[in-house]
């Protein structure tokens, strides 16, 4: 279990409204893995997003399934607030935003 494998699992969690995974959206701020414990800090695209809490719960469910023996903690943070600059190039393409350098 390492941040890379956790991020890989989280790439299966989708924002159901936008149809883009949370990693590509830049919603995953940090992944800490210590021994058998993992702590993920995530945000939402908007404080008023009705999908936000559901997405966080889905992330926890998927991490529990992907890492059956691990202690999983998925925490919400809005520091810093999400910004479109956090989008991956793939996500920008899906949303129709111009690519960044």
């Amino acid at each position: 279990m390492n941040p890379s494998s956790v991020a890989s699992a989280l790439s299966h969690v989708f924002d159901p409204e936008l149809g883009i995974d949370v990693v590509s959206l830049g919603l995953v701020y940090s992944i800490d893995c210590v021994a058998n414990d993992m702590t993920v800090a995530m945000t939402t695209t908007s404080a008023s997003c009705p999908m936000g809490p559901a997405i966080l719960q889905d992330a926890a469910v998927i991490l529990h399934r992907a890492f059956p023996g691990a202690t999983v903690s998925v925490e919400f943070t809005d520091e810093p607030a999400w910004h479109p600059d956090m989008l991956s190039q793939q996500a920008r393409s899906i949303l129709g935003l111009p690519m960044t350098a």
Binding site: A9, V13, S46, S48, P50, V61, A66, L87, L95, G96
Partner: protein
């Protein structure tokens, strides 16, 4: 100022979906009535057939959609709890039956039946208001949607109260339906109930659905408070049947809030990160454009005869009503309905399978093609009808009525289609790989 949301409070699919599935038939009924409109349509705005069409549109179509939306938004977006889901399930049956009965009684000007049918409609309003008010009052969020919905519920009561008074006084004539009182009733319903709801919730829904983080609304609270005050002033002034300069001044005051709201919405949409508009974004733009046309024609209607085509102010009033109800409100509600129902379906039907199987996203649940056809057919029918009304063409109104009914059927097809089983359009593994530490 936006709300922190509580999707776990989402009401059951079976509570909200009947409203959204039934509402298009209000549009079909209005279209069918319009297709059979008589030559007296241009004589006055308050001939029975026109009043029946108006109530089929406002109560049968837009209000039914709005009620379903508020049951969902009040709980899931504003964050409160409904008083009773069972009450809501009863209310939808009562509402559909009462509106159908009332519209039928008005169309035939069955004065003996109208007070009872109107009373049932107002009872439906009261049950709805009690349920949603509980959700608003139990929410800790101080948001614009909550403020807008709260003010709108008050106006729903006022509009229903005036309407019921009209119906009760029909036989005794102690509260005659003058043009001014009719305008007060109509604007309490259209501007107070429908527009206040739309203004309030759109300040949250438009940024949310279009991924808007950079811009903030300039006018939010001022729009809601100012519009509410302007509606009250307009209704009071109009009740005295004033001369046209006073009507125009009151109408300009009434238009100020929605105009500031439209400026906010355009600013917000211009800064969106979701550049590819979906049905909600396109409907917002179309609806806002119709608001512009509504305001222009509405101001002309306030002046009345001096600027009316062929000196017939009824033409302006008809066009104003069509643009405001069908164009501004209707297009916005059609766009949002393709978000509300798919979201509920995703939440209740597909979300439990997340992580174990590929699940569709909201965009997979509704058909973008049918949604676009629904919006385009409605916008086309409204534009056609408005032009026909201004031109005084009864043949045009008949054709437009059929277009409107067709649009209602397409909207129903779009809503019903969301219930068909869907698969994910994304290329994802069926199961998350398991990593053993």
């Amino acid at each position: 100022m936006s709300a922190r949301v509580a999707p776990a409070n989402s009401p059951p699919l079976g509570l909200v979906s009947p409203f959204l599935l039934a509402a298009p038939f209000g549009l079909v009924a209005a279209g069918a009535l319009l297709a059979a409109a008589g030559s007296d349509t241009f004589a006055a705005i308050n001939v029975p057939h026109t009043v029946a069409i108006t109530h089929a549109l406002v109560l049968g179509w837009v209000t039914t959609l709005m009620m379903g939306a508020l049951y969902q938004l009040g709980a899931a977006v504003i964050g409160g709890r409904l008083l009773s889901e069972r009450l809501a399930r009863f209310q939808v049956v009562l509402h559909i039956g009462a509106v159908a009965l009332f519209t039928w009684s008005v169309a035939g000007w069955r004065t003996g039946l109208m007070p009872a049918a109107g009373g049932l409609v107002v009872l439906s309003f009261a049950l709805f208001a009690a349920n949603v008010a509980h959700a608003l009052l139990t929410s800790a969020n101080h948001s614009l949607p909550r403020l807008g919905a709260g003010l709108a519920l008050s106006w729903l009561g006022i509009a229903g109260g005036i309407g019921l008074t009209f119906a009760l006084a029909l036989n005794q004539a102690w509260f005659p339906i003058t043009q001014g009182r009719l305008a007060a009733h109509a604007h309490a319903g259209l501007a107070g109930w429908l527009a206040m709801t739309l203004l309030g919730v759109s300040y949250q829904l438009v940024p949310m659905f279009n991924v808007i983080t950079k811009a903030k609304p300039f006018h939010g609270g001022a729009v809601l408070a100012g519009t509410c005050a302007a509606i009250a002033l307009f209704a009071i002034v109009m009740a005295f049947d004033p001369p046209w300069p006073v009507r125009l001044a009151a109408a300009m005051l009434l238009a100020a809030g929605p105009t500031a709201w439209a400026v906010d919405i355009v600013r917000l949409l211009r800064s969106r990160s979701k550049r590819r508009l979906d049905i909600q974004g396109r409907a917002t733009i179309v609806s806002t454009a119709f608001l512009g046309a509504t305001i222009v024609v509405g101001l002309l209607a306030a002046i009345g005869e001096p600027v009316a085509p062929a000196g017939e102010p009824t033409r302006l009033l008809l066009a104003y009503g069509i643009l405001g109800i069908g164009g501004w409100m209707g297009c916005a509600m059609v766009g949002n309905s393709f978000k509300i129902l798919p979201f509920l379906l995703w939440y209740h039907r597909y979300r439990p399978r997340v992580g174990t199987a590929p699940v569709p996203v909201v965009g997979d649940i509704y058909s973008e093609a049918v949604a676009t056809a629904s919006l385009a057919s409605l916008a086309g029918a409204v534009a056609w009808l408005a032009v026909s009304a201004l031109a005084g063409s009864l043949t045009g109104l008949h054709a437009g009525g059929m277009l409107l009914a067709g649009s209602g059927l397409i909207h129903f097809a779009g809503m019903a289609h969301t219930f068909l089983p869907k698969t994910s359009s994304r290329d994802v593994p069926s199961r998350v790989p398991v990593v053993h530490s």
